[in-house]
């Protein structure tokens, strides 16, 4: 596959790793923001190939992991209603709510369906006019244009039996929150290439300046991640800060303006709770007033459902890069993919699942 295979070559990776080894002189802590990046790093074994001076910590960029339990419980309450077809990305089905997950609802007879695209959910609504079709609209900035389009199209085409349970989160406020924490130890960021594809990277420039930190916009293939790490180490060793773009084949400074335009038409910025971390001001999207007719939490009156997290789960610390999954006393014992305490153990992008599945201890 073009634009995939060439970024997975062993010889090129070796050459870049050699460059990293020659450049690094002291310990550095770098956070990759995105769970997809964590997945590649561990799946390709890159974390074991980097010099020991470099510590990679895993960021909060897993939409499945940061969706608050309250919202999972709301989703479950909606999905259990007989008139509802509940549609979702596959990742969300195993995330534990207070007492169940969506797979359990499905096994109990609930009509829970996996879709590839939010537009597929609109199609299902169109084809089932007698049922209520709800889409679980989670995601970061990357997914927001797709979810915005689903709502916009449903409105245009008059698909009234469609609605979304919305939990959108945004990266820059989360980065600020991490850097604002007194315990944080992050010295450089690998920013999420697909978020920046949509949003551009100009938003990161003030963050990099204010905290005097390098932010490298990085892609998702093994070679991208090794090069991103190299760029971060080079900047740190030279005492430079600022935003650099490793993923320039997809990312520009201003991002995808057509996508941003529709997002702004459908969504507005709001405070948002992050599972395990808490409320971060201005860190999410909600539907604008003109689209609240499509808000599933209002339509099914579940907005009041509250939930409490497991006290033992340290997911919040892990997603802020303060602890690693293996430091959790429950890791691999009381918390496994079969019986998770927190979401990072079940999402395929969750740091705990990646550690568990690919054997880090």
């Amino acid at each position: 596959m073009r634009y995939v295979d060439e970024y997975r070559g062993g010889e090129d990776a070796g050459r870049l790793l050699g460059a990293i080894r020659r450049t690094v002189t002291k310990p550095w802590v770098i956070m990759e923001i995105c769970g997809g990046q964590t997945h590649t790093l561990i799946k390709a074994g890159i974390d074991r190939m980097l010099p020991e001076e470099i510590t990679l910590v895993h960021g909060p960029g897993c939409p499945v992991c940061v969706t608050p339990m309250r919202l999972i419980d709301q989703a479950i309450a909606i999905a259990r209603r007989p008139e509802v077809i509940f549609t979702s990305f596959g990742d969300m089905l195993r995330v534990p709510g207070s007492n169940a997950d969506l797979l359990k609802v499905k096994s109990e007879g609930g009509d829970v369906r996996i879709v590839y695209s939010p537009l597929d959910a609109v199609k299902i609504a169109h084809a089932n006019p007698g049922r209520q079709v709800v889409f679980f609209a989670v995601g970061f900035e990357t997914t927001a244009p797709a979810n915005a389009m689903a709502v916009w199209r449903a409105e245009r085409a008059g698909v009234e039996n469609f609605s979304v349970l919305c939990s959108h989160v945004l990266v820059p406020p989360a980065m600020e929150a991490i850097l604002g924490s007194p315990d944080h130890r992050v010295q450089g960021f690998l920013a999420a290439g697909h978020v920046c594809t949509v949003m551009g990277y100009w938003q990161y420039e003030p963050i990099a300046d204010r905290h005097r930190i390098p932010v490298i916009v990085t892609g998702f293939e093994p070679l991208d991640l090794i090069q991103g790490t190299y760029m971060a180490i080079a900047a740190l060793e030279e005492g430079r800060h600022g935003v650099e773009n490793q993923y320039s084949r997809s990312v520009t400074r201003e991002g995808n303006t057509a996508a941003q335009q529709l997002m702004t038409e459908v969504f507005e910025t709001a405070d948002r709770e992050w599972r395990g971390i808490g409320v971060i001001p201005g860190s999410g999207y909600r539907l604008r007033e003109s689209f609240t007719a499509f808000d599933a939490s209002l339509r099914f009156d579940v907005a009041d459902i509250e939930a409490t997290e497991s006290e033992e789960c340290i997911a919040g610390l892990i997603m802020q890069g303060i602890e690693r999954p293996s430091a959790c006393p429950a890791f691999g014992t009381r918390c496994t993919p079969e019986k998770p305490l927190g979401a990072p153990m079940v999402s395929s992008e969750g740091a705990c699942a990646a550690y568990y599945q690919y054997g880090r201890s």
Partner: protein
């Protein structure tokens, strides 16, 4: 299934009254799983738990304890292989095959993986009221063609019809028997350090073909299932160097990764895989990328893993490649003393990682 009923009754009794004493306690902690989950049948960790902690515990006997694809029975001077499998695939018809051909190939292969020559099959049909007779006829003809092609006879059967809504069109169970040659000794326990892992062809084709026609995830592809009877391939290996073939397995549900994990655990050895030589089609890779699947965990229906003595590996590789179903065979790994019970993979860029047993079903990863 008749044999399972007492245990089921016990499970239900325990479910309503956890303090109920006397009789056999349910070995699967009910607090964890009060009901059976889909993943209990998915071929991964939960399946393994159900099989080992409930079925093997209940039916406890030395033949079953081998945990092979089939049972190996000594009857007089003969050794017979006996294996059974139930087919619940949805949709019933898919590119390159259907539930009927799959039901023949799957069981023929399970018998073949015992090192046996398959002789006869039984067929049990559980049919949902309302299944179009035309569909049933198509399935039965396809079974008949597959059986003829494999040179086995369907010698006995059973038919049940269940109420509309209580079955997915049709479920088929087949049981096969076969005869094992004199100098053949196939068992997962025979995998030993130094052995070489052979794989007969490109992985993940069947699972991805089925996904391509699943409602909600459809994509266009020329892929067809790899479903095929593998007994002539295994026979060729056994004929060439029977004593040097230690383990044979067809990596169906749970894929190559789960099968190798089972072997590593049963033999108490480590397995080291190499990503680079593992054959995989471009289209399968493309589909795995968009679904976020790891092809190592995707089902195959016409592929065979052979663990063989190192000194015989090249010769057996050539034998595989000389067979129409093994043209793309490759050496993909080795058995090692280190990390017993675990499978490691060297990635294309040279990194090392654990390939764990799949936990639950693989779900399309989109975010």
């Amino acid at each position: 299934m008749r044999g399972l009923l007492p245990i089921r009754a016990q499970l239900m009794a325990n479910d309503t009254d956890p303090d109920l004493s006397g009789g056999m306690a349910c070995p699967i902690p009910i607090s964890d799983y009060p009901t059976v989950q889909l993943a209990h049948g998915g071929g991964g960790r939960l399946s393994q738990m159900l099989i080992e902690e409930m079925f093997v515990a209940a039916f406890d006997n030395p033949v079953l304890a081998q945990l092979h694809d089939g049972a190996i029975l000594d009857i007089g001077a003969n050794r017979l292989a006996l294996s059974t499998d139930s087919y619940v695939v949805h949709p019933l018809f898919f590119p390159g095959g259907d539930i009927g051909s799959l039901a023949v190939h799957g069981t023929v292969n399970d018998v073949a993986m015992c090192g046996a020559r398959p002789i006869a099959l039984s067929a049990g049909f559980i049919i949902e009221e309302g299944l179009p007779m035309e569909d049933l006829w198509r399935i039965v003809r396809s079974m008949s063609d597959a059986a003829h092609g494999a040179g086995v006879a369907v010698v006995t059967g059973d038919t049940k019809v269940v109420d509309r809504g209580k079955g997915d069109g049709i479920y088929i169970n087949t049981t096969g028997i076969g005869v094992i040659g004199d100098d053949v000794e196939i068992s997962p326990h025979r995998a030993r350090p130094g052995d070489v892992v052979l794989l007969s062809g490109a992985i993940a084709v069947h699972g991805i073909t089925i996904m391509s026609v699943r409602e909600g995830l459809e994509f266009e592809t020329r892929l067809e299932t790899d479903s095929a009877a593998l007994h002539t391939l295994t026979a060729a290996l056994l004929e060439r160097r029977g004593r040097d073939v230690h383990v044979l397995r067809d990596p169906t549900r749970g894929g190559v990764a789960s099968t190798l994990n089972e072997i590593a655990a049963q033999a108490g050895v480590g397995i080291r895989l190499d990503e680079e030589p593992i054959p995989i089609d471009e289209e399968v890779r493309g589909a795995c990328e968009i679904l976020g699947f790891d092809p190592l965990y995707v089902a195959n229906e016409g592929k065979c893993i052979a663990i063989v003595a190192r000194e015989a590996a090249d010769e057996l590789l050539q034998t595989m490649r000389g067979h129409p179903l093994g043209a793309r065979a490759a050496i993909v790994g080795e058995v090692v003393e280190e990390h017993p019970g675990k499978v490691f993979l060297r990635s294309r860029i040279g990194g090392l990682r654990v390939v764990d047993m799949l936990s639950g079903e693989q779900l399309p990863r989109i975010c």
